[in-house]
């Protein structure tokens, strides 16, 4: 069945592609040439400090793939789910504008910061700009940030396992495939092409088994099902965090790559050919300025779609690894800007999946909306109704994979982070097992409320605030170069206002329940325990205040440094060497 081109998501996907093309070939090129004045002849840290371990030149294609894999997670896929509550048009505008003028600016510029500052990562860059206190506050901020990411991702994977029967079995199938692949590659040195083919076949079989078995059913463990799934997931993540990387996380990530890439390509293709397949846009373009239980469009829209438009996490990846391995400066644009704009495309394709599902699914907050939308877009060219059950499992696994692979790394990061952080009489907190357990138990407690949308907004707010800090840091260094810093300072100012407002909104929301003005935000079964629900709301109220205060301090210090740099008053010690 053919429908009018304008009634399908196809036009919007093409429009977004054109916008991203403009951002990459015109705006990013201008910044690259006129502000950073990149040169192939300027030596990069990868060559200057070549050690074959941390610093070594890597092909732009490899770095692009690495950067994209490191930055793409659930953000661009589930963020639009919350944003589409205001209608698909505001979500689309934010994804496109955010990517064009803010997202790539941060990713590209933070890579350049590292390249021009002897391969320094975010901590030392902040230290250079605002001193030791700033660096310590960044550390404290990151601690809370990691806990909130973990809470959101652990809860969501548990929710997916609970809602989609068969998805748990398929996930276990993929993990077992990962273990087999790991043994074949690392122990038996098997041929990589053969192992890859085996990995793809076993992954497809795992999804098939999950679909055929469709077990366990929803709420298998009774009212506490999601929490039980959280504990099962925590056990898997615990093992992943303590065994050597090549034994578990590395092969699992390797196997997960294929459904992750395949899913994105299928959805984009499905959206592009939607005029031919007859899949129509049925979500309203605009629904309203305020959504009950979510909040006002400003600032919530801008923090709900986090990684799909801009994300602070990307600045950590760009400065800790990518910037140290950049072969020549001219690679920064394809790697930093290219990977970010590709993630923008991922967010746009996820939005396309939400555009074609019933508005009821969004209104009722059904997490299955993405899976249903993606299946609708892809089923017509993949076997029609006969393939729907398989595709539903495949796209539920697609969601699980994006969350679980990043969460495995976050849990491991938390463990290594704790080992470095806790010294002296606190050293026991850095113990391998205790640190891992802490990094899993605390998020599970955070997620007990079941109010994942509020948690997501906290995650988005803290994540975007980190991005605002990174953008201000970029503006500071660019101002020191006596180059136009508006390209980073204007987005930084916008993101600072938006994210601090979003944190304030959530503090207000949890404050209402903490002070008994409203009922605590909680979902069954926790609603049966009002005392516990209240305690968790109060905890979030306090965490919100802590994040807000840390954010205010960092923003003030960084903006102060920026204006000093603009006036040429930066002290010699704060000048990058």
């Amino acid at each position: 069945m053919q429908v009018a081109f304008l009634e399908t998501p196809s036009l919007w996907i093409i429009g977004a592609l054109v916008a991203y093309g403009f951002a990459y070939y015109v705006y990013a090129k201008w910044v690259d040439e006129h502000i950073w004045e990149v040169s192939e002849k300027r030596v990069t840290p990868a060559h200057m400090y070549l050690d074959g371990v941390e610093y070594f030149p890597v092909s732009r294609y490899v770095l692009y793939g690495f950067q994209f894999k490191s930055i793409a997670a659930l953000g661009p896929i589930l963020g639009p789910f919350i944003a589409v509550a205001y209608g698909w048009l505001p979500a689309l505008i934010w994804i496109v504008i955010g990517n064009m003028f803010i997202g790539w600016v941060q990713d590209y510029s933070t890579i350049m910061l590292t390249v021009r500052n002897e391969g320094r990562s975010m901590g030392p860059l902040v230290y250079n700009a605002i001193g030791e206190r700033g660096r310590k506050i960044l550390l404290a901020y990151l601690l809370f940030y990691l806990l909130i990411i973990s809470a959101v991702f652990i809860y969501l994977v548990s929710l997916f396992w609970n809602v989609f029967p068969g998805s748990f079995i398929a996930t276990i199938g993929i993990i077992i495939t990962g273990l087999i692949v790991g043994e074949l590659l690392y122990k038996y040195k098997a041929n990589i092409f053969g192992v890859t083919a085996l990995a793809i076949i076993l992954t497809l079989i795992s999804v098939g088994i999950g679909t055929a078995v469709a077990w366990p059913p929803k709420n298998f463990f009774g009212p506490w099902s999601v929490q039980v799934w959280s504990i099962i997931l925590a056990i898997i993540l615990f093992v992943g965090a303590i065994v050597p990387l090549p034994k578990f996380i590395t092969p699992m990530n390797f196997v997960a790559v294929f459904p992750a890439i395949g899913g994105v390509l299928l959805i984009i293709f499905g959206a592009l050919i939607s005029p031919a397949t007859g899949i129509k846009l049925i979500q309203p373009a605009f629904k309203g300025w305020y959504v009950e239980n979510v909040g006002p469009i400003f600032p919530i829209l801008f923090v709900s779609i986090a990684c799909g438009a801009i994300s602070g996490w990307h600045s950590l990846v760009s400065t800790s690894t990518t910037g140290k391995q950049l072969d020549v400066e001219t690679d920064a644009r394809p790697v930093g800007a290219g990977a970010m704009l590709t993630e923008g495309l991922l967010a746009t394709s996820a939005l396309a999946a939400y555009m074609v599902v019933s508005p009821d699914l969004i209104a009722k907050g059904k997490i299955s909306a993405f899976v249903n939308g993606a299946t609708l877009l892809t089923a017509p060219f993949l076997g029609g109704d006969a393939s729907k059950a398989y595709l539903l499992t495949f796209f539920s696994i697609f969601l699980v994979i994006y969350a679980i692979t990043v969460q495995a790394l976050v849990t491991r990061y938390w463990r290594v982070f704790s080992a470095e952080l806790f010294r002296g009489s606190w050293a026991w907190l850095g113990n391998k097992y205790i640190a891992t357990a802490t990094g899993l138990i605390l998020p599970i407690i955070f997620a007990l409320t079941g109010s994942w949308i509020n948690l997501w907004i906290y995650f988005g707010g803290s994540n975007q605030l980190l991005a605002a800090m990174a953008l201000t840091l970029v503006a500071f260094y660019v101002a020191k170069m006596n180059k136009p810093s508006w390209y980073s300072a204007v987005p930084a100012a916008f993101m600072t206002v938006v994210t601090l407002s979003a944190l304030l909104w959530e503090i207000y929301t949890f404050g209402l329940s903490t002070f008994g003005i409203k009922k605590p935000l909680a979902k069954p079964p926790l609603t049966q325990y009002p005392g516990a629900a209240w305690a968790l709301n109060a905890l979030f109220f306090v965490i919100g205040i802590i994040l807000f205060v840390l954010g205010i301090y960092m923003s003030y210090a960084l903006w102060n440094a920026y204006f000093k740099a603009k006036r040429g008053e930066v002290e010699a010690k704060a000048v990058s060497p």
């Binding site: 004045e37 040169s39 002849k41 300027r42 030596v43 990069t44 060559h47 050690d51 074959g52 371990v53 941390e54 890597v58 092909s59 294609y61 490899v62 770095l63 692009y64 793939g65 690495f66 950067q67 994209f68 894999k69 021009r116 320094r120 990562s121 975010m122 901590g123 030392p124 230290y127 960044l138 550390l139 990151l142 050597p244 990387l245 090549p246 590395t250 990530n253 390797f254 790559v257 890439i261 950590l316 990846v317 400065t319 800790s320 690894t321 140290k324 391995q325 072969d327 020549v328 990061y413 290594v416 982070f417 470095e420 952080l421 020191k480 170069m481 006596n482 180059k483 000048v575 990058s576």
Partner: protein, 107 residues
């Protein structure tokens, strides 16, 4: 004028010939690279880092006296010395490099 001068080091700059060769590599090489980066590069970097930490320990135990940590008698250090000479410079650089908590993200 930016803070950073262009330092023309021909060794590190990409030469015209290399660029032409790169173009010839074509789409298949680019795809291979992207797939490798997506699937394996992070793991390869992490494996290198694990090896680095093991090497640090080994070098510190065997040649610690070079840095003021005489862990094994110099006689044995001297016997090992010829085999580890190529690694000494990069070992010292890596060991003494200050690492920040934000560096931990890379493995």
């Amino acid at each position: 004028m930016s803070d950073w001068e262009v330092i023309p080091i021909p060794l590190f700059g990409r030469k015209k010939k290399e660029k032409e060769e790169e173009k010839k590599e074509g789409v298949s090489e680019a795809l291979k690279g992207v797939l490798y980066g997506f699937a394996v590069h992070g793991a390869a970097t992490a494996a290198l880092k694990t090896r680095m930490h093991m090497e640090h320990l080994f070098m510190l135990m065997t040649l610690g006296d070079m840095l003021g940590f005489p862990i094994i008698p110099p006689y044995y250090s001297l016997k090992i010395l010829p085999y580890v000479v190529p690694n000494i410079k990069s070992w010292k650089e890596r060991l003494f490099r200050e690492r920040d908590f934000t560096d931990l993200l890379s493995g």
